[in-house]
């Protein structure tokens, strides 16, 4: 009888990295649907195009450059591609997306050694690369539901807040903006960031499946809420309401799907809380005082860089050691 001598444990969970990635993609389906509903088929094409591009680039790198002949796609490139597309304006064209995807997959991921080794969220690397390279296309926003006719460009709620101040939000003639439209997503913005509702549905799916570092969005969103509330209480005529800050811009997309990227976020609960606090703080500093309307992307990239330090600082107390950590 030929017996296998392998290391314990001899039972393994059926879980796999591919299953994790598939779950993330499933969680994004509601947002894909809402984005297509709000912005039309062009949004859907951009999302599919970016995903395919990302997978093709990854396959090329793994099979041709890294010579891993048996490499099978794990789905991580599709996740990066989809998240990148969701962070784009409808105004970008095919070759801009090509360059952005290249930045995400190659500069954001493979220069570090590939899956699991990157420091920064690859989709955000791609996005910021495009924001700097193609600022006009990346900040040209289309009106919701105008896809049947000629598209009319407009500004996002956060950009309006930045340029025209808080009073413009209440009687915004350009487009009706209220909490309901912010929540459901019938507002101008990046393809996937508009609907807080759809993103939350996906988030709940990930929580149920145990796929998400839950303390990151919880602390991130609470921190933004608290800071926004403080300023709103001080001067509601100058600062927007905390609910506006939660649902406008990319906070929901960033907090639920970008900051929670497993590879680039802390491993311990304590670390995740610190990470979330830092994200909230930086986001609000940029939103309130920065020259750029929204701070989600930058705050995540900045905090990504701190993750190795946070992980070491926030290591849990080993069972059987005193709270100080000495044995």
């Amino acid at each position: 009888m030929k017996l296998k001598v392998a290391a314990a444990p001899h039972l393994r969970s059926k879980d796999s990295v591919r299953a994790v990635m598939v779950d993330v993609l499933i969680a994004l389906i509601p947002s894909v649907i809402v984005s297509t509903w709000v912005f039309g088929l062009r949004a859907l094409w951009i999302m599919l195009y970016t995903m395919v591009l990302a997978e093709v680039m990854e396959l090329f790198i793994m099979k041709v450059l890294r010579k891993q002949k048996d490499f099978k796609p794990d789905g991580s490139a599709s996740v990066t591609g989809l998240l990148l597309a969701m962070n784009l304006s409808l105004a970008v064209n095919w070759w801009q997306i090509l360059i952005g995807t290249f930045a995400a997959i190659v500069l954001g991921k493979h220069v570090y050694g590939g899956l699991g080794k990157n420091v920064f969220n690859p989709a955000l690397v791609g996005r910021v690369f495009m924001l700097i390279s193609f600022p006009v296309a990346m900040t040209t926003w289309y009106r919701p539901f105008y896809y049947k006719f000629d598209t009319i460009t407009t500004a996002t709620p956060l950009a309006i807040l930045k340029e025209k101040g808080v009073e413009s939000l209440t009687n915004w003639s350009d487009y009706s903006i209220n909490l309901k439209s912010l929540f459901v997503g019938t507002i101008p913005g990046s393809i996937g960031e508009v609907s807080a509702l759809a993103l939350l549905i996906g988030f709940i799916y990930l929580v149920v499946r145990g796929r998400i570092k839950i303390w990151i969005p919880v602390t991130y969103i609470s921190t933004v809420f608290v800071i926004a509330s403080i300023f709103y209480i001080i001067d509601p005529t100058k600062y927007a309401s905390p609910l506006f800050h939660l649902f406008a811009g990319g906070l929901m997309l960033g907090a639920l799907f970008m900051a929670t990227d497993m590879v680039t976020s802390p491993m311990t609960v304590k670390g995740q809380v610190i990470f979330g606090l830092g994200l909230g703080l930086i986001t609000m500093i940029i939103r309130l005082f920065g020259g750029y309307p929204e701070g989600v992307s930058f705050s995540i990239l900045i905090m990504n860089a701190l993750v190795p330090l946070i992980d070491i600082y926030a290591k849990p107390r080993i069972f059987g050691t005193t709270r100080g950590g000495n044995k």
């Binding site: 001899h10 699991g116 080993i318």
Partner: protein, 442 residues
């Protein structure tokens, strides 16, 4: 009432249904037994017999050699035919083995001075346990008499009986509690008498409601309490069990006694009862022969030193090409056998025959830092980080991050979606770190 537990852990498929309703059967005597001189943790026993010598069942054939060591006894009546070396799956090294050919039915040689425990002094009980060669039968094989000798300056406050049986597949402790509850309770009282402990707890996982009922009945009127534990792996790990029941943490690098606890496994308790009351040395024990590769899984009493092959003959195996691996123990911490011509030892509580279907190779991915390993580690380690440190040979760092605190339960490897063999790295890392430490001392 909320179930008692600890933080972390995993919930692998239990697979207890294969054997949990099978009554314990006593297996026929084996034709030949192979008894290791290292049937315990510590120094090998000193061999007392030579080839050609006739021995009786229960006759001492090896004597404890040092403080942490244990006696070994012949498990059949027959003749010593050979003293040779065989691979010991538990230690991975070649150990001396005394081979005894059975010549007839049992002729017992019992321990002198056994009988009613309540009339004996604690020291007399410890002496009987030592004479009987009893070691921890949950798998650790630590000599029981050493555990029962409380060092000066220390005090044992609780006795905890480990009846969690958290390993998948294994059901022998469960059956022992159902079928031998009175004897187990007597065993507990013997240990309490010998150690001066006033209070005992029996920790049983919630997935064994019948055993919980049975033991509750058996302990009524005694200062012994049944505690229901959450069904979760590794609930039966010593430190996790003590924590679940007392909420005390055994200090890193310390012993249960440091928090006033001593822990005995159910089957060990039964062996202590048999030694003290019946005068029987440890020559037989219970085992679960199970797994998808076994045709008639069940629970059995067998003679220590029986070859794995002879045990498995009693239950039958499925076609060879379906069998993937055979384990001493369960799937989480079990030791894989290189072949089945190997003898069993005192710590064997199960032989699990796994088929290729249930133990498929897992596809490997890079670590995506999903933090599952951190969430499930019952010791609060950061397995992904430790693995990097060990692989980079940063042993000082790894030690600082708790390498030696790892209890090798395998929860991290079980849970890892990337299929990374974390605990394997730690086992090797611990060996290297110990060797380096030894070298530094010289």
């Amino acid at each position: 009432m909320a179930l008692l537990t600890f933080k972390g852990g995993v919930h692998p498929p239990e697979k207890k249904e294969l054997a949990e309703h099978k009554e314990i059967k006593v297996l026929p005597l084996p034709e030949k037994v192979y008894i290791y001189t290292t049937n315990h943790i510590g120094a090998p026993a000193k061999i007392l017999v030579e080839p050609g010598q006739k021995v009786k069942t229960g006759q001492k054939i090896g004597e404890a050699n040092g403080f942490i060591s244990a006696n070994i006894h012949s498990s059949v009546t027959g003749e010593v035919v050979e003293i040779t070396k065989m691979t010991n799956a538990a230690t991975g090294t070649k150990n001396d083995v005394i081979v005894i050919q059975r010549t007839g039915e049992d002729e017992w040689e019992l321990i002198p001075n056994h009988g009613d425990y309540s009339k004996k002094s604690p020291q007399e009980i410890v002496d009987i346990v030592k004479e009987a060669g009893i070691v921890g039968l949950g798998g650790a094989m630590f000599p029981s008499h050493v555990k029962m000798s409380i060092p000066e300056g220390k005090k044992a406050e609780y006795l905890i009986i480990n009846a969690a049986e958290c390993e998948p597949y294994i059901t022998i402790d469960h059956r022992m509690m159902l079928e031998r509850s009175k004897e187990i309770v007597t065993g507990i009282k013997i240990i309490m008498h010998a150690t001066g402990v006033k209070k005992a707890y029996i920790g049983i996982e919630s997935n064994k409601p019948d055993a919980i009922e049975k033991m509750k009945e058996a302990v009524s009127g005694e200062p012994i309490e049944v505690k229901v534990l959450k069904t979760k792996y590794p609930q039966g790990a010593e430190k996790q069990l003590i924590y679940a029941i007392t909420k005390k943490e055994v200090p890193s690098g310390g012993l249960p006694l440091d928090v006033g606890a001593i822990v005995f496994n159910v089957s060990t308790t039964y062996a202590i009862y048999e030694a003290v009351e019946k005068g029987k040395p440890l020559v037989e024990r219970g085992i679960t022969l199970t797994g998808e590769g076994v045709i008639n899984p069940g629970n059995f009493i067998y003679r220590i030193g029986t070859l794995a092959k002879d045990l498995l003959d009693h239950v039958g195996l499925v076609e060879e090409d379906k069998i993937d691996r055979i384990l001493y123990g369960g799937p989480m911490m079990g030791i894989p056998l290189p072949n089945i011509e190997l003898p069993t030892f005192k710590g064997n509580n199960a032989l699990t025959v796994m088929t290729k279907e249930v133990a498929p190779d897992k596809e490997l991915f890079p670590c995506i830092r999903c933090s599952k390993c951190v969430q499930v580690c019952p010791i609060n380690l950061m397995p992904y980080l430790l693995k990097m440190q060990v692989e980079k040979r940063e042993y000082d760092k790894a030690l600082e991050y708790g390498l030696m605190d790892c209890i090798e339960c395998g929860s991290c490897s079980y849970a890892c979606p990337a299929g990374i063999e974390l605990v394997k790295t730690f086992k090797t890392g611990k060996k290297v770190a110990r060797a380096l430490k030894g070298r530094a001392k010289k």
